[in-house]
Symmetry: none
C-alpha cells in the first residue's frame, strides 16, 4: 500500500510550527508496513489544496491528512476530499450535540462557526475525537475500491490518540504483513569507512538496513517484513548478527539508548563509579552523564578545571608535567584522569584536555586537537583526537562521545582500540605522542 | 516570488527525523517577504524525485532543497535539478581538494564515494560549506530567467550557516524592498505574562513583532519593511524602544547572542570572573558557559558535586547545614555558591541544587524544585524555582537559564527580582523559605 501524508495549514508554511504530525504518522505507517512516498504541506488555499488532493489520490492508495478541519471558512479539507473521492457531506445532529456539549462543559456557548464541524461523510465513516471538537473521517473512493483518505485534526493531542485508537487498528486489519525494526548504534568508526566495511549488507531487500550518521556515531536500522511479528523479529536478529560479526564491540547497543544512557546503565550493572575532569569540554561530559535519570548512583564528582592552576590544586596534576608537556598533552590528560579518580574515590576517572577553538590553536597544537584519558585501577589509556573542520560545539561533543566510549570499554573490560596504555601512576614517564584516532 | 521547499530523504519518510529544515527555511523566506506555497518531502528515488522537481519548477519561481547531497549513489538531487534547469555538472578539482583536505585533516583518506560531492554546476554557482564536505549550489534556469533552485545539504548545522551566509544575502539582493529584523531576548517573564504586558505591540503591521517561546526565555523578533536599509533599521530601533519601556532589564540583548554568550561577554567587559558549583544540573551550566569562545578569560573552575560528601569536601558546605536543611535547600545552594567562589578566587560564585527527576521527589520537595544561588562580594542571592510538568532535561535547562541571568545581573549591578538576599557568609543563619519564582 502506497501512502502519502498531507498537512494543511498556513502556519506550517510560515515556519511558525514544526510539522511533528508528519513524523508521527510516517513512523506509525512504517511500523504497519505501509510505505510513505511523499509528505506535502499546503496552505488553506482552495485551488492549491484541490490540486494537491487530486494528484495525491492519483498516485497513492492512502492519503492521511492533518489539519484543515477547523471551524473557519478557510478550512476546506473535507469538502475538497469529499469531491475528489466521490462522496458528499451530511449534517450530523449527533455530532453537533457533541460539539455543543464540549463548549457547555467549559461554561461557554458554541460559536455558530463550529456547526461546520458537524458535517460528516455520507458514505465514509467518522473518527471520534475525545480531545477537541473536530471529528476525523475516513473516505473510501466510491468509484475505485482500495483508495482511501483519512482526515485528522492538526493538534497533535487530538491527532495522535485518534490515529492510535481508530486508524491504526483499521489499517492493521487491511494489511497482510508486519514490519519490525531493530536499531544498532555504532561508535568509533566513521560513516564512509563503515560503509566500506558493511556496504554489501546495506543492499539487501528484506531485511533492509540503512545508516544514519550522527556526531561521532552511526545508527544502523534493520527492518524486516514478514507474515507475523515473531518471524520479522527473528529475521532482524539474524541479520543483526552479521553486523556484529563485522563490527564487534563497536556496536554499543541494540536499543534506543543513547551512549550516555548505555554508559550509566552499564556502570550500574557492574556496580562501578566514574568521576570526570574536564578542560575544553567544560562540563559537557558530566552534563551528559547526569542527564540520565539515576546517574547519581554511578557519578558523584566532576571537576571542570579550565585554568592550569586549578588543574594542579584540584586534581593534583604536577606542575612539572604542565611545564614540560603543556596543558594539552597526553600526559596532562592522564594525570587529570588519575587525579579525579583519586579525589573522588571512584573506580574510573576521565580526563579531557584540548583546544576546542575557534581561537587558541598553533601549528603544533591545532584547533580540534583533544586528548582523552581514562584511568582504571591498573592502567590508564589515552587517545588523541584531531577533530578538524568542525565547530567548537562539534569538537566538544565529539570529545565527550569518545570519552563515554572509553568508560564503556573500561566498565566492560574491553580493549581500547587506538589508545596508548600505560601502568597507572606513570603518565609523566612516557614521552612521545599517541597515534591519531580515527574520528 | 513564489517559493517551495523540498526535502529529500528516506529517513524523513520513515519518521526517523523531524523536518526542522522546512521550518527554518520557511521562517527565513517569510522574513524576506517570499511566500512559501508548498513543502514537500520525497525519498531518494529517481523517478519520484524527478517528477517532484519538474512539477515544482513549473509552479514556483524558487525551489529550496535540503538533503540528497551525500556521497552515496542514491543521492540524486543535483543531477535531477541540473537536468530540469537545463544545466550540467562538471567535476571541480578545487572542491575535490577541499573534501580531501577535510578527510586528511583527520588523518584519513577520502573514500572514493566522496568524489561525487565535487561535481558542481557548469552555469550555476557553488555555496561554500564550512561544516561538511557537500557544497551547496544555486541553479538559474538556462531557458527561463527568474527560475531558481537552491540546493543545501540536510544536516541543519551545515544548512543553516550556508543559508544565512550566502543564500539570504543573495535573495535579499533580488528584492525591491528591504527587510530588516531586530531580535530582543527576554528573560524572567513567562510567555503569557509577557503577552499581557506587550500584547498590543504585537498587532502592528509595519514593523511587525512576533514572539517565540524558548525554554525559560522569549524571543521577540521585530521586522520592518522599507525602501532602504537605513529606514528599516530606524523603524526597528524605534519600535524596540517601546519594548524596553515595558520590559526594562528583562531584555538581556538585542543581538543574536544567547544568554550564555551575553553573560560571558558582559563578564569580559566588566573584567569579572565566575565559578560554578552544580548538583542537579551536573555540569550543564559550566558546559553552557564554556561553549562560548574565549570563556576561559572569565571562567576557571566549575565543580559538579553530586554527592553530599563531595559538597562538604570540595566546596566546604557545612555538614550541619546539610543535616539541618537537606541538600535541596536555599541554605545549601548559598553555601555552594559561596564555597566555589572562595575555592576559585572568583568574583562571583553560583550554586545549583534541586530535584531534576523523574525520581527522587517527595511531597515536601517535589521534582522540579530547584534552588539557585549567586554569591558576590557582599551579598548572596537565592531564588526558588518550581519547574513542574517538565522533563528532566527541561528542569535542568531552566535552572541554568536562571543561574545565567543571576550572573548577568551581578555583573551589571542590577536588582535580582524574586530573590532572597542576605549578607555574605550568613546563609546558615537564615531560616524559612524563599518565594517561588515565576518560571
Amino acid at each position: 500500500m502506497k501512502a502519502e501524508i498531507i498537512a494543511v495549514g498556513t502556519e506550517l508554511l510560515l515556519g511558525d510550527i514544526l510539522n511533528t504530525n508528519a513524523q508521527f504518522l510516517s513512523r506509525e505507517l512504517a511500523a504497519l508496513g505501509i510505505t510513505v512516498h511523499y509528505q506535502t504541506v499546503v496552505g488553506d488555499n482552495a485551488a492549491r489544496l484541490e490540486s494537491v488532493v487530486r494528484q495525491a489520490r492519483e498516485r497513492s492508495d492512502l492519503l492521511v491528512f492533518s489539519g484543515g478541519l477547523g471551524p473557519t471558512e478557510d478550512d476546506l479539507t473535507k469538502q475538497t476530499v469529499a469531491r475528489a473521492y466521490g462522496d458528499e457531506l451530511r449534517f450530523d445532529e449527533e455530532e453537533l450535540a457533541k460539539i455543543q456539549h464540549f463548549f457547555s462543559a467549559w461554561g461557554r456557548t458554541m460559536p455558530q462557526n463550529n456547526r461546520r464541524q458537524a458535517y460528516v461523510p455520507v458514505h465514509g465513516r467518522k473518527i471520534e475525537n475525545h480531545n477537541g471538537t473536530a471529528p476525523g473521517m475516513i473516505f473510501e473512493d466510491t468509484r475505485e475500491k482500495g483508495k482511501y483518505a483519512v482526515l485528522l485534526p492538526g493538534p497533535p493531542k487530538e491527532l495522535q490518540p485518534m490515529f492510535l485508537e481508530t486508524v491504526r487498528p483499521w489499517l492493521a486489519g487491511m494489511s497482510d504483513c508486519v514490519l519490525h525494526s531493530l536499531t544498532l548504534r555504532v561508535m568509533g568508526i566513521g560513516e564512509s569507512h563503515l560503509q566500506e566495511k558493511i556496504g554489501s549488507l546495506l543492499e539487501n531487500e528484506n531485511p533492509t538496513a540503512a545508516l544514519y550518521a550522527k556526531t561521532s556515531e552511526v545508527v544502523v536500522r534493520i527492518t524486516a517484513r514478514a507474515q507475523d511479528l515473531q518471524t520479522a523479529e527473528e529475521m532482524c536478529r539474524n541479520y543483526a548478527a552479521l553486523f556484529y560479526d563485522a563490527l564487534g564491540d563497536h556496536i554499543y547497543t541494540q536499543t534506543e539508548d543513547s551512549l550516555e544512557e548505555t554508559v550509566v546503565h552499564t556502570l550500574m550493572e557492574k556496580g562501578k563509579t566514574v568521576a570526570t575532569a574536564e578542560s575544553c569540554t567544560g562540563g559537557l561530559l558530566s552534563a551528559r552523564l547526569t542527564s540520565v535519570p539515576g546517574s547519581s548512583e554511578v557519578f558523584q564528582y566532576g571537576a571542570c578545571t579550565y585554568a592550569n592552576e586549578v588543574k594542579e590544586r584540584v586534581l593534583g596534576v604536577k606542575h612539572e608535567t604542565l611545564e614540560q608537556f603543556g596543558a594539552v598533552s597526553p600526559q596532562v590528560a592522564a594525570e587529570m584522569a588519575e587525579g579525579v579518580r583519586r579525589a573522588a574515590g571512584a573506580d574510573f576517572g576521565v580526563g579531557i584536555t584540548g583546544i576546542a577553538g575557534p581561537g587558541g590553536g598553533t601549528p603544533e597544537k591545532p584547533v580540534g586537537l583533544v586528548y582523552v584519558a581514562a584511568a582504571g585501577e591498573t592502567f590508564t589509556y589515552v587517545q588523541k583526537l584531531v577533530v578538524t573542520g568542525r565547530t567548537r560545539e562539534m569538537v566538544r561533543l565529539s570529545s565527550t562521545q569518545h570519552a563515554l566510549d572509553m568508560i564503556r570499554r573500561l566498565a566492560l573490560d574491553l580493549a581500547q582500540p587506538g589508545c596508548r596504555a600505560f601502568a597507572a601512576g606513570t603518565p609523566a614517564n612516557f614521552t612521545g605522542d599517541t597515534p591519531v584516532k580515527d574520528v
